[in-house]
């Protein structure tokens, strides 16, 4: 009897102990990365190089194009009275994600990863903040023009002075040179160290002198295909050689070290990453003290966090109902901006009866773009008529152009039924589809299901998790694949979705050609090396007309990005059209009263 009570007592103590340790034990583990470093981490190592901010004027003095004037005042303010320049505060952003995936910029593919990488790294050139249609120099001093030397194309970049690599354990801050740039681009081109290696085949990188980099291309390409490859998107981000070598591939996944306005402080798995201001940033001291990016996969939770004041910027939903709901909320500003991701439905020709043109046409006539759009809302998205969105990229077909060719496939149920009957399916047929659990996909698939039912096609839709979905559709699972994606140019869209090299499973470089289509290879290849922009656009359009004539892809809509922020947040630039699908945060972003 006695030791039973003793046992009971011990258990109580253990339970109480567990409860208590819940608070104190973490102190040693959690405190160091979060609380302690605050005062020491950010300023100290960077304070020293500050004098070298002298180069800033040189950067500012170089102004060669439009955007510079707006920037000019900042650097002049910064050196004279740095403390007054900072408005302070930590910007708390919530992204729609469970966690980050990889912060090595050459592996960062998801929106949450890109948004973080963008704050830490720079590239040779960049998309103008808030406006993805304009390029401006970033680490380079100006946008170069190509030269043809011996049949090869050469691009020469002069690097700006004073771009400092952020310090990381054991590696003090140092000035970025052409050695880093060549190291970084070579890494991007290496398929074992980058997800974007394909973009850099046939390119060689050379450090001419510490501040000059020469890139040579075996096959010349046009400017609008070249700049994206050295821009602040995907493989173009420049990593610091010493930091990369010191950290190694594994650590780089969660510890980004670059030259940008913010630098890494701490990371908690599936919770958040904390960045602090990089006071020696070459465009001047950031206005914010730091940025926290939280991973919050639930929309309601993000919304309530913004309303409750625990968050400053959240990723919203591409749904007019949501936007309308948030607009009247006090102190909240909703931003709807491009670029829009394009939803297109691809027919898998390997799965009967999709091999029959009349069946595909019947489905195209049965579908209503307006009906799909109603679930998104006309202010959030817009119908599209070609695989490449004409609204954002050169080479897309507008509604008028599609109509002129009779390829707009305006909804016509009678015609659809007749086509289906003529093809031998007067009563329709059954279809098995899988969809991702992500709302954006599920809504489109559910709408598709209801629309197909109108012509007797019964679709059994299975919901699977997003990872399974990506895997499954790449294995010929879906007769109809609705895919939502942004690609930076017409070439990428067409190559990856409709070039025979990209055919799933069997292609040379299997990618996302769900159709098993091979009729426009020539046009794509020709357009890629066409240096005359008008001719290039013509080729792209021709390719897409062919696609519509064969009806292997039914372009549905583009969906703009929807973000909401506290009214006190000022990004420091307008959100006209952001290539990267998130509002950029940089040295000018600040809180206003």
């Amino acid at each position: 009897m006695k030791h039973k009570f003793i046992l009971l007592a011990i258990l109580t103590i253990v339970l109480v102990g567990v409860a208590c340790t819940a608070a104190p034990t973490p102190a040693p583990t959690a405190a160091p990365p979060t609380a302690a470093p605050k005062p020491t981490d950010a300023p100290k190592p960077t304070e020293a190089p500050k004098p070298t901010q002298a180069p800033q004027p040189t950067a500012a003095a170089k102004p060669t194009d439009a955007p510079k004037p707006t920037e000019a005042p900042k650097p002049t303010v910064a050196p004279t009275q740095p403390p007054a320049a900072r408005s302070g505060g930590v910007l708390r952003i919530a992204q729609n994600a469970t966690d980050l995936n990889n912060l090595d910029p050459h592996y960062a593919t998801t929106t949450q990863d890109r948004s973080i990488v963008d704050m830490v790294f720079n590239a040779l050139v960049r998309y103008k903040p808030g406006d993805g249609s304009v390029f401006e120099p970033d680490l380079a001093t100006e946008l170069p023009e190509p030269k043809i030397v011996g049949g090869k194309q050469e691009w020469t970049f002069n690097l700006r002075k004073g771009a400092m690599c952020q310090p990381t354990d054991g590696v003090p801050a140092y000035e970025l040179t052409s050695e880093d740039v060549v190291y970084s681009l070579t890494k991007s081109a290496n398929k074992d160290r980058s997800a974007y290696a394909g973009d850099y085949t046939g390119m060689t990188f050379e450090a001419v002198n510490p501040s000059t980099v020469k890139i040579t291309l075996d096959n010349p390409i046009s400017k609008n295909l070249f700049y994206p490859r050295v821009s602040n998107y995907s493989g173009g981000f420049i990593v610091c050689k010493k930091a990369a070598e010191k950290l190694g591939a594994d650590k780089m996944k969660t510890m980004p070290v670059g030259t940008g306005p913010f630098m890494f402080k701490s990371y908690t798995a599936q919770d958040k990453i904390v960045l602090v201001a990089n006071d020696s940033y070459f465009r001047g001291k950031p206005q914010l003290d730091g940025v926290e990016v939280r991973f919050m996969a639930d929309l309601t939770s993000r919304e309530l966090g913004l309303r409750g004041g625990q968050l400053d910027v959240i990723n919203g939903a591409p749904d007019k109902a949501w936007v309308d709901k948030m607009k009247p909320v006090q102190n909240v500003q909703v931003d709807v901006f491009g670029v829009g991701e394009v939803a297109t439905m691809y027919f898998n020709l390997n799965i009967p009866p999709m091999d029959k043109l009349p069946v595909r046409q019947a489905i195209a006539y049965a579908l209503s773009r307006d009906e799909f759009l109603a679930f998104v809302g006309p202010t959030i998205g817009e119908n599209v008529y070609s695989v490449v969105p004409a609204k954002f990229l050169a080479g897309g077909l507008t509604e008028q152009e599609a109509k002129a060719k009779g390829l707009d496939f305006t909804t016509d149920l009678a015609k659809a039924k007749k086509l289906l009957a003529d093809a031998g399916y007067p009563n329709g047929f059954n279809l098995k589809l899988v969809t991702s659990e992500m709302t954006g996909y599920k809504v489109l698939y559910e709408s598709l299901q209801a629309q197909l039912a109108k012509i007797g096609i019964k679709a059994d839709v299975q919901v699977i998790d997003h990872t399974s979905f990506h895997n499954t559709i790449r294995q010929d699972a879906n007769a109809l694949v609705v895919y939502i994606a942004w690609r930076p140019n017409a070439d990428a869209y067409l190559t990856r979705f409709l070039h025979s090299d990209s055919i799933i499973i069997t292609g040379k470089k299997p990618d996302t050609n769900f159709v098993h289509y091979n009729k426009i290879d020539k046009l794509i290849d020709q357009a890629r090396v066409e240096l005359d922009a008008t001719k290039q656009v013509d080729l792209w359009k021709q390719a897409q007309i062919q696609v519509l004539e064969d009806m292997v892809a039914f372009p549905i809509q583009y969906q703009n990005q929807v973000y909401a922020r506290a009214k006190t947040v000022d990004y420091g630039h307008d959100l006209k059209s952001v290539l990267a699908l998130y509002p950029g945060v940089d040295e000018k972003t600040k809180f206003v009263k």
Binding site: A321, T435, A450, V461, V463, I464, S468
Partner: protein, 302 residues
Amino acid sequence: MAWLIHASGIKVEMSMQAPSVKFVSQRRRMWNTFLRNRVAVLGLWLVIAVVLLAIGAPWIAAKDPLIQDPKNRLSAPGIEYLLGQDTFGRDIFARLLYAAHISLVVGLCSVLLGGTLGVTLGLIAGYSGGKIENLIMRLVDVLMAFPSLLLGITVLAVLGSGIEKMILAIGIMLSPAFARVVHGNTLSLKEREFVEAARCIGARQVRILRIHILPNILGDILVLGSLWTASAIRIEANLSFIGLGISPPTPTWGNMIREGSVHLLNAPWLSVFPGLAILVTVLAFNLLGDGLRDVFDPRLQL
């Protein structure tokens, strides 16, 4: 419902074991006990009502639960659409009724599956002891070691979504809990005088389990079963939350709540009505479960 079936099944067994005049009077007395408990009777009526609504959905609902109406998303309740329209403009009233069907089937079948599996394992383990007990209870531990949502995600990711798969997933999730409770109760009953007495006069194991132990733990099983019917409905909602519920466009209360929770502030009718439906159903089953528990508890008769 399941518990009625389950209970009557056991009654039949008992009648085979003890076909005497005494049983008839016992059955009558049980029925009377039940009828005297007005709340339990109310529970029974509510359950019958929910079941009838679920079965009668095609005749009661004027609208098709699957027809989408993109122009009228999130419309408020009105005369034409009694409970309003959802994110796809579908009739919430019709969906609620059709969902009753699915949710009841999922709730009841998974508890029945998990209960049968768990009770059997628990009884055998608790009574037989020794190696068999050890083996069964370790198996239960293994099952228990899987967080139920993880188990659900795994089953649904491997097999795909669907009602049967959902029942299988939830049934497996619930069975170890049943087994543990039954095991514990059996352990303590085993040592009681009347069981020892039965053993002494040489009653067979199966008979002891059936006559002396099962009826004594039935009350607890019923309470747990009625409780876990609610859990099953909730688990389905939670799986919907992760995005892996029952395939669209089939409505369930769980996925209706999930879809509606996003619009809680601008269109509360989307999630409030299915929420109430779950509440009423859970309440009904629990009241009924309590009533049955009293009926099966011989000590409460006095």
